[in-house]
């Protein structure tokens, strides 16, 4: 297993813990991805320009190819966009020609055979749930967890080929291997609302609130994410750098954003605790005025 670590842009500033802890968990399970300097995956600019997005993804993949490595990312939006770009480049010769031209001056070449994997896939496929179960030192027995799948890895399934888009199991299997009890909840495959954050905060927060409510109704103690953007949106620990703007719809009024009524942690924090790397810690108590 030779992977290049593709943390994605949001980790170093917004969510450094997720990057650090993911690498620690992977190292404990024998996977040590190489550090390579990548550019953005192109997801954030995809709604602005398909070419900019696909060129970004293709350049990142070409950088990995040059190093002879496959890509491993903890972010589902990065994963989704890299897979989307692979598909778009295979589907549209005009894009492929434009990208090839743009990469040539740097001596880079896009290789369609590169494999892009999400953290969950590496844990499930390359390491294996059985190996994870063996490595678990402090099983999190009795912890009821709601696995939040994240849209861009799951869909469009023909492009991402992540898991069954209607009834995925990869996340729950892994959480069960850590000793937790995954709960079945209504909105587990739904959007966290992050794509609208800063653009339409009212809708973004309403989507997040509906997710919290659904997880709580299913009796979950913890909502677990496996995506940088989802964790930024749903978690309380993410640095909030929402941009105040005259035109964006803010909710409910200017002021501090309400904290989540349920603990939201990323998958590596949970797995690391199960592997005995660090204590899970006390979950922040639900705040009474939201949810």
């Amino acid at each position: 297993m030779t992977f290049a670590w593709f943390p994605g842009c949001r980790i170093p500033f917004h969510l450094p813990d997720y990057g650090r802890e993911s690498l620690a968990v992977l190292a404990a399970l024998g996977v040590r991805p190489a550090e390579v300097e990548f550019n953005c995956c192109g997801y954030p600019v995809r709604h602005q320009s398909l070419l900019a997005s696909v060129l970004s993804a293709a350049r990142a993949m070409a950088v990995a190819s040059r190093a002879g490595l496959d890509i491993l990312t903890p972010c589902k939006c990065c994963f989704g966009n890299l897979r989307f770009a692979q598909n778009a480049l295979a589907e549209r010769p005009d894009l492929m020609a434009a990208v090839t031209d743009a990469l040539r001056p740097e001596g880079l070449r896009y290789d369609p055979d590169l494999t892009v994997s999400h953290l969950l896939q590496v844990l499930d496929r390359d390491i294996g749930s059985a190996a994870v179960r063996t490595a678990v030192a402090a099983p999190l027995a009795g912890l009821r967890v709601a696995a939040h799948y994240g849209c861009h890895a799951l869909r469009p399934s023909q492009v991402t080929r992540f898991d069954d888009p209607q009834a995925p199991t990869i996340f729950e299997n892994l959480l069960a291997a850590a000793g937790c009890t995954p709960v079945s909840w209504t909105l587990r495959l739904e959007c966290c609302g992050q794509p609208l954050a800063g653009k339409n905060d009212r809708l973004a927060l309403a989507l997040a609130a509906s997710k919290y409510e659904s997880a709580l109704q299913a009796g979950a103690d913890v909502l677990v994410t496996a995506c940088t953007y989802c964790q930024m949106q749903l978690g309380a620990t993410a640095l909030s750098c929402a941009v105040p703007s005259a035109l964006a719809v803010s909710w409910p009024l200017p002021g501090p954003r309400p904290g989540p009524p349920i603990a939201v942690i990323h998958v590596s924090r949970l797995l690391g605790a199960a592997l005995g790397l660090w204590p899970l810690g006390t979950m922040p108590p639900p705040s009474p005025d939201t949810g």
Binding site: C9, H47, L51, C151, R155, P156, A246, L247, V249
Partner: protein, 575 residues
């Protein structure tokens, strides 16, 4: 007062006033750099108040290390840049400093400190050549990098080449002057008048013959007899030279640049002494006067920024301290346009595709400096570009990590987004929400004049097959997460996904672009995943957004967007 000292004092005054003016702007930063809720001018007070003796003592070793390693030895260039970058800058810095202190300020430094100092004696003669050669070496590397390295060429500006040109002029005129003096008969006559009190004609002729033979000095015909000098005369000249000249003249081979150069100058160049002197001196004085107004100011601002920078730039950017405006103002001045941020920028491919220079950090910083200098008086086109660049940034913090001037760029970019939004230029998607179908139709008509780029030539929208199988079953709308939310105003869901598909199918893309819902799609792809007919609903929505961006960008570039200024639109989209 001589002409020279008049010019000297005038340039010194310009330099000091300019530096004071720029530093005053650090102490009273522009309001665009303010921390919300705090007056920017109070930054210095906050910084002062936050300091205690204990803090100062604790920080002293760190600051001392930063001063020696990062400022004097420029170790940060080696850590974050490359060996060439460090070699380029360190040779420039060390050579220039040596020339400044031991040559330009010789009456204040070299003469009082070193007994028996003479500029024509070693080690000074050698050092002057060595320092000059170091600067020349740094100049060559800098020029080659800016011309031949593609990423450097991309961000190089006229000012960068102008600055290199000024330094080049100083060094070239300096070496030229040195070389011309070596072979200058006028300099010889001045020296003999000073050091040979009562020369007779024969002695003088012998000395001339010796200097002409030994140093290639070209005396005018009337001074030296034609034909080669006799060995006796040369011998006599050497004796006189050893008595009167050599104690103050080291052998010329230590002047390893100017001596070989003097041979090129030999016959004609001697007359250039005065001209080269004025060129050299005026060049130096111009550089002095210009220092506060160009990138050379980084000689002061970059060390200040390095010493002021906090321990954790990420934390300072996330929760700016009260003194942040001061650091931001210094940071804006500390940029040397070295371009390293833009070379490592995460969104460099977006710049390559979209072509807006402000996407690159080094260019965005220039806009921000203009914004902070003129209190937001950027033209609408410049503001639109500034906003686009700002919002394409993914806040990955890499530029902050690699910046050799140690500017907290992350903090500046968060401010840039805030300021762009405050000035009516929030993220383009937010502004596009507010445009009605009439605007989209007009942009479609006028926009055709703009070049059709790949991004502006959608493939799904143009292809009837995309929608051919849509039976308007509304499954896409049924699974849409926005449509299941309770208590959502009707204006947010003005058009549903299946209606959008139908609008586009009927050729009413302009109406589709003006739907609030288009901008409320979370791109979760449930619609596309669940469509029983295999219509690529979410991909079409993405293409519609791409189309909207392309049209507005093309119109903005063509200057067609003035009367449809999105900034004037109502908040929150159309009702």
């Amino acid at each position: 007062m001589s002409l020279f000292s008049a010019i000297l004092w005038a340039c010194l005054a310009v330099c000091l006033c300019g530096a004071a003016w720029r530093m005053a702007r650090w102490l009273a930063p522009d309001r665009s750099l303010a921390v919300p809720g705090l007056p920017p001018s109070a930054a210095l007070r906050y910084l002062w108040r936050s300091l205690s003796w204990r803090d100062a003592l604790a920080a002293a070793p760190r600051l001392a290390r930063a001063f020696f390693i990062d400022i004097l030895l420029q170790g940060h260039l080696l850590r974050k840049g490359s060996l060439w970058r460090w070699l380029m800058h360190f040779t420039l810095f060390a050579g220039f400093s040596g020339l400044l202190f031991f040559h330009a300020l010789e009456n204040f430094v070299s003469r009082p400190l070193f007994a028996g100092y003479e500029p024509t004696l070693d080690p000074w003669q050698f050092l002057r050549n060595a320092f000059g050669a170091m600067v020349a070496c740094g100049l060559c590397i800098a020029l080659c990098r800016r011309i031949f390295v593609r990423d450097m060429r991309r961000t190089s500006r006229i000012e960068d080449f102008f600055t290199l040109g000024v330094i080049c002029c100083l060094i070239a005129s300096g070496f030229g002057l040195d070389a011309a003096k070596i072979v200058s008969p006028a300099a010889f006559e001045r020296m003999t008048a000073d050091y040979l009190p009562a020369p007779d004609a024969a002695d003088l002729a012998a000395l001339r013959a010796y200097w002409a033979a030994a140093h290639g000095m070209a005396f005018p015909v009337q001074m030296s007899p034609p034909g080669p000098a006799s060995p006796e005369a040369l011998e006599k000249g050497r004796d006189i030279a050893e008595m009167s000249c050599i104690p103050c003249h080291s052998p010329l081979r230590s002047a390893f640049v100017s001596a070989p150069l003097s041979r090129l100058f030999a016959p004609a160049g001697a007359g250039l002494v005065d001209g080269l002197w004025w060129l050299h001196v005026l060049g130096c004085l111009f550089a002095l006067a210009w220092l506060p107004f160009g990138k050379l100011f980084h000689i002061l601002s970059t060390p200040a920024g390095i010493l002021l920078r906090g321990l954790d730039p990420g934390r300072d950017a996330a929760a700016p301290p009260a003194a942040a405006p001061l650091n931001r103002a210094v940071g804006l001045d500390a940029c040397t346009n070295c371009g390293i941020c833009s070379r490592h920028c995460s969104v460099l491919p977006s710049f390559l595709a979209l072509g807006t220079p402000e996407i690159l950090p080094s260019e965005k910083l220039l806009s921000m400096r203009r914004l902070a200098g003129k209190s937001g008086r950027l033209t609408p086109a410049a503001l639109a570009a500034f906003s686009e660049g700002g919002f394409v940034c993914t806040e990955c913090m890499r530029c902050t990590v690699v910046c050799p001037s140690r500017i907290n760029l992350q903090d500046l970019w968060l401010v840039s987004k805030r300021e762009a939004a405050r000035l009516g230029y929030p993220e383009l998607a937010v502004r596009l929400r507010a445009l009605g179908p009439d605007v989209w139709e007009r942009l479609a008509r006028t926009g055709r004049r703009a070049k059709r780029t790949l991004a502006a030539s959608p493939s799904l929208l143009d292809n009837p097959e995309t929608f051919a199988h849509c039976v308007q079953c509304s499954v896409c709308t049924g699974v849409c997460p926005i449509f299941r939310l309770p208590d959502i105003p009707a204006s947010e869901v003005d058009v549903s996904p299946h209606q959008l598909m139908n609008l586009v199918r009927m050729g009413l893309a302009d109406t589709a672009l003006s739907a609030n819902f288009l901008w409320n799609c979370t791109t979760c792809y449930k619609c596309q995943e669940h469509c029983p007919q295999g219509v690529r609903v979410a991909d079409v929505l993405y293409e519609l957004r791409n189309l909207a961006h392309a049209r507005v960008e093309a119109a903005a570039r063509a200057g067609l967007l003035d009367d449809a200024d999105p900034a004037a639109a109502q908040p929150g989209g159309r009702p």
